[in-house]
C-alpha cells in the first residue's frame, strides 16, 4: 500500500522544482569549498599538509548541519505544498488507502530525496578533492560519512518539519520555525551534546558517533509515530 502511494507521490512532484533543489544544494556546498580552497589554495595546502582530505571534509562539515536543516524544511514544505495548493487532501484521503500509508509514503519520499542529496554531496566532495589534486588514497569512509551520518542525526528535524508542513495549510509557521532552528543550530554547539540540534554535527565529529546516530534515528521515529497518530485522527477540511 505504501509502495502504491509512493509511486503516486513520485509522479506528483514532477516539475515542482523539488529535484532541482536536491541537485543544487550539494552543488552549492561544494562550490563554496571550491571557492574557499581556490582563493586560499596556498595557505590552506600549507595548513593541512599531510591531511588534505581531512581538511577539506572538516571545512565542508561546518555547513552540512545548516544545509540539512534548511533542506529538511524546504523539502517538507514543498512536498506538502503539492497537496495543500489545491486542497487535494480531501480527494487523496477519500481514496481507498489508509492515512498511515499516505503519511508514511510522504516521509519515505522525503528521506529518499534527502538521501539523494546526501549521496551527491559525498560524490561531489570526492570529485572536488580530486580536482584540487589531493590525490589517492581517497578516504572513502570519511567521504561517505559526511553524506550520511549528519543526515541520520537530522532525522528528528525532518520528521518534525514534515509533520508541521503536512498539518498546517499555511506554510509560514513550519518554514519560519525550520529556518529559525537552522540558524539557531549555528550557536548551540556549546550547549549539551544531547541537544538535538547538535546531533548532525556530532554524528560525524564525535569520538563515539553511534549514540548520536541512534538518538537521531530514535527521536525521528518517535516524532513520526506521534505525527501518524495525529494525522490518522484529524478532520480534513
Amino acid at each position: 500500500m505504501i509502495g502504491r502511494a509512493l509511486s503516486s507521490d513520485f509522479l506528483k512532484i514532477r516539475g515542482k522544482g523539488i529535484w532541482f533543489l536536491i541537485f543544487i544544494a550539494p552543488i552549492g556546498l561544494v562550490v563554496m569549498q571550491a571557492l574557499n580552497f581556490g582563493l586560499r589554495y596556498d595557505y590552506l595546502i600549507k595548513e593541512y599538509r599531510g591531511h588534505l582530505w581531512e581538511g577539506l571534509i572538516s571545512n565542508m562539515m561546518a555547513f552540512v548541519p545548516l544545509a540539512l536543516f534548511m533542506g529538511s524544511t524546504l523539502v517538507s514544505s514543498m512536498l506538502a505544498g503539492v497537496e495543500h495548493q489545491l486542497s487535494s487532501w480531501k480527494q487523496l484521503l477519500a481514496l481507498p488507502i489508509s492515512r498511515t500509508a499516505v503519511f508514511t509514503s510522504k516521509f519515505v519520499l522525503s528521506i529518499i530525496l534527502m538521501a539523494v542529496a546526501c549521496l551527491l554531496l559525498s560524490v561531489f566532495t570526492a570529485v572536488l578533492g580530486l580536482c584540487l589534486g589531493f590525490g589517492f588514497p581517497l578516504p572513502w569512509s570519511d567521504v561517505a560519512k559526511i553524506g550520511f551520518f549528519p543526515f541520520i542525526g537530522s532525522l528528528p528535524l525532518l520528521a518534525l518539519q514534515l509533520y508541521l508542513s503536512l498539518t498546517y495549510r499555511n506554510q509560514a509557521l513550519p518554514v519560519t520555525l525550520g529556518l529559525a532552528l537552522a540558524i539557531c543550530s549555528l550557536f548551540t554547539g556549546s550547549l549539551s551534546e544531547w541537544f538535538p540540534l547538535n546531533w548532525p554535527a556530532l554524528a560525524y565529529r564525535a569520538d563515539h558517533q553511534l549514540p548520536f546516530l541512534g538518538a537521531g534515528f530514535a527521536l525521528g521515529l518517535l516524532i513520526l509515530i506521534f505525527a501518524l497518530l495525529h494525522f490518522n485522527r484529524k478532520d480534513v477540511n
Binding site: R4, A5, S7, S8, L11, K12, R14, G15, K16, V82, Q85, L86, S87, S88, W89, K90, Q91, L92, L93, A94, L95, P96, I97, S98, R233, D235, V236, N237
Partner: protein
C-alpha cells in the same frame, strides 16, 4: 432486504457545541440519483465529508453499501467515487498524469484512464497541463477521477457550482447517464433546486443541519399543486361576483387568485365576469414553483 446504498443513523457533527449536522437520517436507494439540497452552510458538505470518512461524526453511524464506515472504511472507499466541492487536481500535471497519480493508488488497469477520459469527453485535451483548463473541464476531470475506480456509488458535492449554463448542462447530462449506463448510484448535492429537479428521483432537503424533507421529487411536486390568476379591470368587485359563483378567492397584487379550481369553474367564472362588463386581461395558471416550495421548506420565505 437491504437495498440502501447509503444509510445514516442520527449522524451528528458538532463544532464547539454547535451542531453543524444534527441527527441526520439519510436513506439512499440503489440505482437512483439522490439530490441533496440545502442553502449554503446548511451542512451538506460536512455530511458528505462524514460519508467519505474525511471527518469523524460526533455521534451516529454511517452505513454504505451495507457496511459500517467506521469498521470497513478502506473497503467501502474502494467502491465509492467522490468529488468534494471545487475540484482537486495537480495543476502542473496533465489530465493523464493526474489520473495516473490516482490510478497508482487505486491499482486499476491503465486502460481505465482512457475509458474515463472518453466518458467525460476530455480525450482531446488529455495531454495539456490542467492549470490551463476551464473550470468546466476541471470539474469534468474531477468526475473522471471519481469514476476511475469503477465505483458503485458516486458522491458529488456541488458539481455544477460556478459553471456557466453550458457547463452545467454538460455535467447534468453526464450525471444522468450514470445510473442508466453504468449502474451507479449517485448522491449529488446542490443549493439550487432547479438544477437537481432535472436529474434527481429523490431529494433530501437539509436546513441548519436537520433533514426537513426527504421524499421523491414527484411527491415534492404534488405539494406544488397550483391555482389560477386572473388579471382584470376591477378585481375588488369581481371578487364579489366570484363569491356569488361559489368560488372563494383573494386579491393579490391587483389580481384575483383562486386556489385549486377546475376547468369548468374557470370557464363559468370567466363567462360571468365578461357578462358583467369586466375587462379580462389575462387568465393564467400559477403553479407554485418547486423553488417556492423549496423556500417554504427551508423557511426563508419570510425574510425575502
Amino acid at each position: 432486504m437491504n437495498n440502501y446504498v447509503i444509510r445514516t443513523n442520527g449522524l451528528t457533527k458538532s463544532y464547539r457545541g454547535r451542531a453543524a449536522v444534527d441527527g441526520l437520517n439519510l436513506e439512499i436507494k440503489k440505482g437512483e440519483i439522490y439530490g441533496f439540497l440545502g442553502p449554503n452552510g446548511a451542512g451538506k458538505t460536512t455530511t458528505i465529508r462524514m460519508l467519505l470518512g474525511l471527518i469523524r461524526p460526533t455521534k451516529g453511524t454511517v452505513e454504505i453499501l451495507g457496511k459500517d464506515l467506521q469498521k470497513d472504511k478502506i473497503n467501502i472507499l474502494r467502491r465509492v467515487g467522490s468529488l468534494v466541492e471545487y475540484p482537486s487536481y495537480y495543476g502542473h500535471l496533465t489530465a493523464i498524469e493526474n489520473l495516473e497519480a490516482i490510478r497508482r493508488i487505486l491499482n486499476v488497469p491503465k486502460s481505465r484512464i482512457d475509458e474515463v477520459l472518453e466518458i467525460v469527453s476530455l480525450t482531446k485535451e488529455a495531454k495539456r497541463a490542467v492549470k490551463g483548463y476551464s473550470l468546466g473541464m476541471k470539474q469534468r476531470l474531477g468526475i473522471a477521477s471519481a469514476l476511475l475506480g469503477s465505483p458503485e456509488l458516486l458522491i458529488l458535492d456541488e458539481p455544477t457550482n460556478g459553471l456557466d449554463p453550458s457547463g452545467i448542462h454538460e455535467i447534468r447530462e453526464l450525471i444522468k447517464r450514470m445510473p442508466q449506463e453504468h449502474g451507479i448510484t449517485v448522491l449529488v448535492s446542490s443549493h439550487l433546486l432547479g438544477e437537481v429537479e432535472q436529474m434527481a428521483g429523490t431529494v433530501g432537503i437539509i436546513r441548519e443541519g436537520r433533514m426537513v424533507f426527504q421524499d421523491t421529487i414527484v411527491n415534492l411536486r404534488q405539494k406544488a399543486a397550483g391555482g389560477i390568476n386572473i388579471s382584470l379591470s376591477e378585481p375588488e368587485s369581481a371578487l364579489w361576483l366570484a363569491k356569488d359563483n361559489g368560488l372563494a378567492g383573494m386579491v393579490q397584487d391587483g389580481k384575483l387568485y383562486f386556489d385549486g379550481i377546475n376547468d369548468n369553474q374557470v370557464a363559468g367564472l370567466v363567462k360571468r365576469l365578461v357578462e358583467n362588463g369586466h375587462l379580462i386581461y389575462r387568465v393564467e395558471e400559477r403553479n407554485k414553483s418547486l423553488e417556492d416550495i423549496f423556500m417554504e421548506v427551508i423557511g426563508e420565505v419570510k425574510s425575502l
